[in-house]
Symmetry: C2
Subunit: 577 residues, 2 copies
């Protein structure tokens, strides 16, 4: 009933083309350079198929719907001329992998580094990213998380406007480029997580509705029409995204997927899409004999996402914990606008440190309702914590990183909280040396109306914040170029010091120095007045104990540590660096 979609070429240059289009009465396959389009056959479920011989990789094709609409393949593996033009046949199974020894890194051991291919390097390609891997290794990072790379309009985009989920962005280096990056990562001992967007489609080059009911009017999302996960025909839509996830994990050797904004994957059917996805990946693991992680971005604080199947959960491996970021950010910056208004106390950070969720069934004044449920019983590696990420930096009007907002000492303090915390830490590219260029929001749409709408929408996004000044033009190439990492830390003493500090912290973490904070029973002493937080590991008296003193004020304070039989002994102090 369900078929694999896309163009699949065999060693003998036979190529199967399959597309799901349940409504058109006729679908034809157009091969670039051929005189006549090929009529496709269909089955009762709306799949159309044609098998052609003498097709070589690089062959370009489109589908013609009802003799009228000429459209690229929704499951295209390659869009060499952008989102509106020909799809290209790709030889998918002949890449020469060198990572047969590779095994994924345990979640609890991961040090994640989020990066955006376009701005991570001057060149903005997969290949150029390879050159930076040694820097990451020296830093201690063992996992990169790549922002979405599915083909998007133009060459400048965060990736959340992707419209060809199966096609690695051509300007980044296309599918071969991505495979090379993953292959080298694995040889160097680095895991790769890919950010995928299964909650909406980009606005430009999105021809999915010409093919079938990929969207539903039953629900809306902040980014437009919701994807049809539970209405008529949804089995095929779900399969389209399930196959996509499996492609990345299986064919591209990706180690984990970061699932964008799963609160906008609206599915009220008896098996939630995310559960089905995890079950599909469970099966894949039996084939690849590798562990593949699924990590959700969720604003719901709902442990259902990460609970086991038999507790009614979707069994995803982990989820991002925004509460941790917000608790640190508000203490570090003093900002209290917009959604940051729900945070700002030392107690919030203490709670986040102890149990990830600050909103665990608590009322949010900003969101104007009760949020979340209790994370009790979850393991600390089920939460990914950061002090900066693409959203928290890039969704500021001026895209300021923490290095542009707080003092050097505060940067070190914030990094310290993240790296001693029991959760999986995630750095945002450049954070490790305090990059001083911003990370702005940028697009390169081809449709002038859309560009105008994005400019307007951007302003609207900041309505809850008191930021002053003018919004950088998302469409301008300059905005994109400004956002590239400068990698000048060698010329900057403070940046070098910060980098060494991160290295040292990560090294300590990897050697287990902060492992006691993963035990349950963490105790926290809260001093709101002086902005002091003291954290003690749990466990019985005669065991080893770990303590941390965090001073978010601008003053020095004398802190009396809890009494114990043995002397306290300093592991490190951020101010020493």
């Amino acid at each position: 009933m369900i078929r694999r979609v896309g163009a699949k070429i065999s060693a003998d240059n036979t190529c199967d083309f399959i597309v799901w289009a349940p409504f058109p009465e006729k679908v034809q396959l157009e091969i670039q350079g051929w005189k006549r389009a090929v009529d496709m056959n269909s089955d009762q479920y709306g799949y159309w198929f044609a098998t052609l011989e003498n097709i070589t990789p690089g062959t370009r094709y489109k589908f013609i719907l009802d003799g009228q609409l000429r459209r690229p393949d929704p499951a295209s593996r390659c869009q060499p001329c952008g989102v509106h033009e020909w799809s290209e046949v790709v030889a998918s199974h002949d890449f020469g992998w060198n990572d047969s020894e590779w095994q994924n890194i345990a979640l609890s051991e991961m040090i994640i580094y989020e990066l955006h291919i376009g701005t991570f390097t001057a060149e903005g390609t997969f290949t150029a990213a390879i050159d930076k891997l040694d820097h990451l290794l020296a830093l201690g990072v063992n996992t990169i998380e790549i922002m979405p790379i599915s083909q998007f309009p133009g060459s400048r985009n965060w990736g959340y406007d992707g419209v060809y989920p199966y096609a690695a962005q051509y300007s980044y280096g296309g599918p071969e480029g991505l495979k090379s990056l993953v292959d080298v990562c694995h040889q160097k001992g680095i895991a790769v997580i890919l950010d995928v967007v299964y909650n909406h489609m980009g606005p430009e080059g999105n021809y999915l509705s010409d093919f079938g009911p990929f969207f539903t009017d039953k629900y809306t999302t902040p980014w437009g029409k919701a994807i049809n996960f539970d209405d008529p025909y949804s089995d095929h839509v779900r399969s389209f995204f399930l196959q996509n996830a499996l492609m990345w994990l299986d064919e591209f050797h990706i180690d984990g997927l970061r699932l964008d904004a799963i609160h906008a994957i609206l599915d009220n059917s008896a098996r939630h899409f995310l559960k089905e996805l995890r079950q599909n990946v469970d099966e894949l693991q039996l084939k690849t004999l590798r562990r593949h992680y699924l990590i959700a971005e969720s604003d719901m604080n709902d442990v259902k996402i990460i609970q086991p199947y038999n507790n009614g959960g979707y069994n995803l491996d982990a989820q991002w914990v925004d509460d941790f970021h917000h608790a640190v950010h508000t203490l570090a910056t003093g900002e209290n606008d917009g959604y940051y208004s729900d945070y700002g106390s030392v107690a919030d950070l203490a709670k986040a440190f102890r149990q990830a969720f600050v909103y665990d069934g608590a009322f949010s004044l900003f969101r104007k309702r009760t949020i979340g449920n209790s994370p009790a019983g979850q393991r600390s590696e089920q939460f990914v914590a950061c002090i900066q990420n693409h959203d928290q930096v890039g969704n500021r009007m001026l895209g300021e990183r923490l290095s542009q907002l707080v003092s050097f000492e505060m940067q070190k303090l914030a990094a310290g909280v993240m790296l001693i915390a029991p959760f999986v830490p995630m750095l945002f590219m450049g954070e490790e040396y305090g990059e001083d260029h911003p990370f702005l929001y940028f697009v390169s749409h081809g449709d002038p109306n859309l560009v105008a709408a994005v400019r307007k929408g951007r302003k609207r996004e900041f309505r809850y914040f008191k930021w002053k000044g003018s919004v950088p033009d998302p469409q301008a190439e300059e905005t994109y170029n400004q956002s590239k990492l400068q990698w000048n830390y060698h010329e900057n003493e403070r940046q070098t010091r910060l980098l060494n500090y991160y290295r040292q912290l990560i090294n300590l973490r990897k050697n287990g120095a902060f492992g006691l904070f993963k035990n349950t029973g963490i105790k926290t002493d809260i001093d709101e007045k002086n902005k002091l937080l003291v954290i003690y590991s749990g466990g019985s008296k005669d065991q080893k104990q770990l303590g941390a003193v965090l001073n978010f004020s601008k003053k020095k304070h004398r802190v009396k540590l809890a009494k114990r039989d043995q002397q306290w002994c300093k592991i490190m102090a951020s101010s020493d660096q």
Copy 2:
């Protein structure tokens, strides 16, 4: 933060008026006959309150929003002049109950009888219904399920257009009338389930949006705007409905709620409204020391609804199982239009008999997607099964009951399947004697545009069916009167025979004659060609065994029963009656 809403009068004639209206800047209380409106005070959550002295029951009031809109109380307990007019203060706690000995009936023992107050008797009132209770007792019914009685526009309505959830329909006899009915039921040993609608509001007299964000644009339902269960301010909206449920169970001594169409209660927050509802009722039970049931109407076939909390479930007590109805109906009638096209085989009925869900992760051709998950491990009393109900009869164009569609023998066969099945059986009023008047769809809206829309919508509803003829006018009084039970079975030999047959079956069921079908391991022999289904209870060879032979064809067939050491012995045959 959350307050109890409505008008609450004390013994000393002090009355607290509380209404939630977070957006108006000013809310006043207008008492009928008073010269000036009373200014109300508000708290930060948008609750407005006033306490007045010398208020007697029967006092009429409205709220004035921002000095302009004069509106009845959304939590009104009584609307003596309809949905647009004054609300009335009701003395809620001085009813003289006589049911102190009452304990609810175990779900597994229930024989439910669904009735519509307006058409159950000639008078169409709660009081008149009391006179029929002895008939029900003689039949063996021990539970009535009352279709929704919350105040709706006019005096003729199924009840799903209610707009004052807290006000028992005045033309039925209002709150006092309902209490009297419940009180007498309990004295006679009859439990009362009330059908409540928490998924939408009726279209006429619905002033909720003037008060606050009761609805959300994020989701849509087949009946219009979705109720706001998870957007900003939803804590208060949820509370409005939670308090309503508790009112019926606590103050009105209702034994269980039938929750209408819970698939349209769209809530993606970390604690689903239905779970919160069940948790609230759990607490109430500690106070009332009575068991209160929550039974869901759901089209999702999702066991999450009825699974325990620790399996991620909402822990509701039971859910309707439409699959059972459809499997019987299609076999009995031969109908295969619309959603009935997904059923019709003996195998479907066998599956429904064995495990309730036919669609347990199976693909539905009519719904064009995979439906349901496995009900394995659920108890049979968690499913309510019927062969007729208000929807299945009344949503036919001509409202025909089974008695108008199939032979006398088939009526008995269908009744037999339901009453030997392991699920909780539910009869639809009049079914027990084969009432030959229809149960049609009727309304009595005051808005001519709405009446036109209903007439049009009604026709649209039948588009998947091949019914011929003209649609009876829902607005016509005649349509309502036609739908009233005639109670003429004494004058009709077949009706009397059918009634005796139902009595005998119910009696046998209550004496445990069919109990073996509740054990797991039921075996079924399926003969599609001859439309024969043979059912055997599970269990080991030397145990007692129960068998049933169901012949849905019009011919006689010889059926060879499974061999066993002891002889088979006939309990009853429908053809003997």
